[in-house]
Subunit: 112 residues, 2 copies
């Protein structure tokens, strides 16, 4: 009845970019980190993650290169570009603005 979404639609790109701002990372690692930092509230499914990364690549917000992980595995490491850093700023601002706006509607702030 009441579905339990894995994440809030429209926030995935922002979460990925923010994760990459801390350090370059591969897809699997990004998903794990988001899951862990959110205390398992947010889960990034693989079918959402990899298309999202393709989107970000196409937009030029991240770049990718194949490397070996510490555990000796081939993995594609994504790095935030300058444009990506800028985009992250835009998305963070917009997101905060929306959250505040939603808060106003939910709380029904009275005005003169």
């Amino acid at each position: 009845m009441a579905r339990k979404p894995d994440l809030l639609p429209g926030t995935l790109d922002m979460l990925i970019l923010r994760t990459l701002q801390r350090a370059p990372l591969h897809g699997y690692g990004i998903a794990l980190q988001i899951k862990r930092l959110s205390d398992d509230v947010l889960t990034v499914e693989e079918g959402s993650l990899y298309p999202a990364l393709q989107r970000l690549l196409l937009q030029g917000w991240v770049k990718a290169e194949w490397k070996m992980t510490e555990t000796n595995r081939r993995a594609r490491f994504y790095t935030l570009t300058a444009a990506g850093r800028k985009q992250l700023g835009v998305e963070l601002t917009q997101f905060e603005q929306m959250i505040e706006a939603i808060g106003r509607v939910l709380r029904d702030v009275q005005e003169a």
Copy 2:
């Protein structure tokens, strides 16, 4: 390039239910109120609003009846049902949980 969404996907039903919790209202009025309370940050397009109201009706979360407005117009007034009140509670809780989780990811709270 950087799209400006009208609202955060996944929050519309909650916003409508919350608006109706204050008082029964017609579709047009709901959209106006959300827009105004949010200081024009949130805009509910008609193509989003009316399908959403149909959804809520089908789920039994609201009921509707035709009435006249104060300005002497035919309009369909929606009222929150008991089930709708309950659903609103669920959605509010989930939303807060998600927002907090996103906040943790964005702020990268350090733990032991």
